[in-house]
């Protein structure tokens, strides 16, 4: 009983901490069990901004879908559609999914990123040469 309560409290506590500080959960523990908080960080501020844009796009996704359904319509009256246009423009700018850039996960490189692995070409090549990528082999034909 107490253990359940405890686990729930722990879960909620950690979530609270994480959402407020937007850190990666890299809290490390030494062998004695004392929590040494290593400050987790994204590779650079640009990556952090991209993360914020993704989260915001997720929040506003439904609203945007519905507003666009009203706007891109031949049935509803045009006055209503104009009002909907203005409303969707009033949404925060980071809420639109177009601003998301698929950056490399390791280096935050914005270009040369293969979508399947979310890695830039340089990191991909590095890992593949060191045999860290499952199923990837140097091409030869």
């Amino acid at each position: 009983m107490a253990a359940l309560m405890l686990s729930r409290v722990v879960k909620s506590g950690f979530e609270f901490l994480q959402t407020s500080f937007r850190t990666t959960s890299l809290a490390q523990r030494c062998t004695t069990g004392n929590v040494e908080q290593v400050r987790g960080y994204y590779v650079n501020w640009r990556m952090l901004r991209d993360v914020k844009r993704r989260q915001m796009a997720f929040e506003y996704a439904n609203d945007r879908l519905r507003m666009n359904a009203i706007r891109k319509n031949t049935i509803l009256p045009k006055e209503l559609q104009e009002i909907a246009d203005k409303e969707i423009a009033a949404f925060p700018r980071d809420s639109c999914p177009v601003r998301i850039r698929n950056r490399c996960v390791m280096t935050s490189r914005p270009r040369g990123v293969k979508r399947r692995w979310r890695l830039s070409r340089i990191v991909f090549r590095h890992l593949a040469d060191h045999n860290q990528m499952s199923g990837i082999q140097r091409a030869m034909w």
């Binding site: 409290v9 722990v10 049935i75």
Partner: protein
């Protein structure tokens, strides 16, 4: 033909229940499409069949039962119409075929009785191909289970009532259509149950006919257990004996809990559970203490496997074998008609006008969407309701509300 004209002409929305209306709509679509097929001669029929698009794939398949029944009825009919249309030229455009159809309709009215006699004859000759009797792999396994189980599976009374309403609105052979509909519904239910159980019954069905071969205890030694054993070389031990033999008696038990109770430990007394204490919002100190305790208790992963186990428990790693419906276990309990028939949620909207039209399109799209939960669909509709209520004035100015 004559009966089809009646159906097309008298679509009485209010009289029939919603489900019946839907199925009638489906059959009308199917029937109108098939009219174009039946009047053209043989060579053209092939092309028309390919050109006709398949009807919209609804999640419930009762329409197929009805449509197949109608298809068979139209098959003997083509003989009748072809005989009349013999003098027409083979190659025609669609429009000309339609005109032929219209002209042919008049002819058919007089031969209605003849056609019905023909049809009843043909139906007696050929055994009807029921969709249920067509054996597929899954249906064979399910038959093995359903025969064992009780015949009447639990269908909700609403579904049964709806099926009987639909059957009564069909013109011919009401009892048969009703039984076919109910069979389809039951099959659908059993399908979902099998899927829910994760198809654990299938293997049981496969090996149901196999005989269980109880292999005799191969490890029993040739000599009885209480005889002294001699080791041949004087090494002090015999080679054959393994620890296995000593646990033989234990292993012969089929389960853990057979055998006499030893009454060593007292049986658990029922402790009345104290009511959960109401804890107000835990302070940060409590959270920190809880985190500390959890960190002490938790063991660090010793290898990659344990790390992956931990990640799977956290939810960071998918569960293998991949389950497409990983987060959606509760959703499988929701019956299909709540996904598909969303008309009842449209009561707060105006009956006429562009708003209604728009919402009907929305509901049409939502009913075809298999990826959303019912709750999400309801949220969409709620949002639209609120939005249109807010924008009432604008809509009234443009006379749309």
């Amino acid at each position: 033909m004559y009966r089809r004209i009646i159906l097309l002409a008298t679509r009485n929305r209010s009289g029939i229940s919603r489900i019946a209306e839907h199925s009638i709509n489906i059959t009308d679509q199917q029937e109108t499409k098939r009219i174009s097929v039946s009047t053209c001669p043989n060579r053209q029929r092939m092309l028309y069949n390919k050109g006709v698009c398949t009807p919209n794939k609804r999640p419930f398949s009762t329409s197929t039962a009805i449509s197949k029944e109608n298809e068979e009825s139209s098959a003997p009919k083509t003989g009748v119409t072809e005989a009349k249309v013999k003098e027409k030229e083979p190659k025609k455009s669609g429009k000309e075929n339609l005109l032929d159809l219209l002209s042919a309709m008049k002819i058919d009215v007089t031969t209605k009785k003849k056609f019905q006699a023909l049809k009843s004859q043909k139906s007696k000759e050929q055994p009807r191909v029921h969709p249920e009797s067509m054996e597929s792999a899954t249906s064979m396994f399910q038959k093995a289970t359903t025969e064992q189980q009780a015949q009447k599976e639990s269908l909700s009374p609403e579904l049964v009532a709806a099926a009987s309403a639909v059957a009564s609105s069909m013109p011919l052979k009401k009892s048969q259509t009703e039984s076919e509909l109910l069979q389809q519904l039951r099959k659908h239910e059993s399908d979902t149950e099998v899927h829910k159980k994760g198809e654990t019954n299938n293997i049981g069905n496969i090996i149901a006919d196999m005989k269980v071969g109880k292999h005799p205890n191969a490890r029993s030694p040739n000599r009885p257990a209480n005889q002294i054993r001699f080791d041949d070389d004087g090494r002090g031990y015999t080679h054959d004996r393994g620890v296995v033999n000593e646990f033989d008696a234990v292993r012969r038990r089929k389960s853990l809990f057979t055998g006499k109770r030893l009454n060593i430990f007292p049986s658990t007394t029922d402790t009345t559970e104290t009511e959960p204490k109401e804890v107000s919002v835990p302070s940060l100190w409590d959270i920190e203490l809880a985190g500390h305790i959890a960190a002490v208790i938790k063991h660090l992963p010793r290898n990659g496997f344990e790390e992956m186990i931990q990640w799977t428990k956290d939810g960071k790693l998918w569960q293998y074998p991949i389950n497409n419906e990983a987060g959606l276990e509760e959703e499988s309990d929701v019956p299909f008609h709540e996904h598909v028939f969303l008309d009842s949620h449209l009561e707060d909207f105006p009956k006429q006008g562009p708003v209604r039209h728009f919402m009907e399109l929305v509901i049409n799209g939502l009913s075809k969407n298999p990826y959303l939960t019912v709750k999400q669909k309801m949220e969409h509709i709620e949002w639209f309701r609120e939005y249109f209520q807010q924008k009432e004035e604008v809509l009234k100015e443009s006379e749309a509300y």
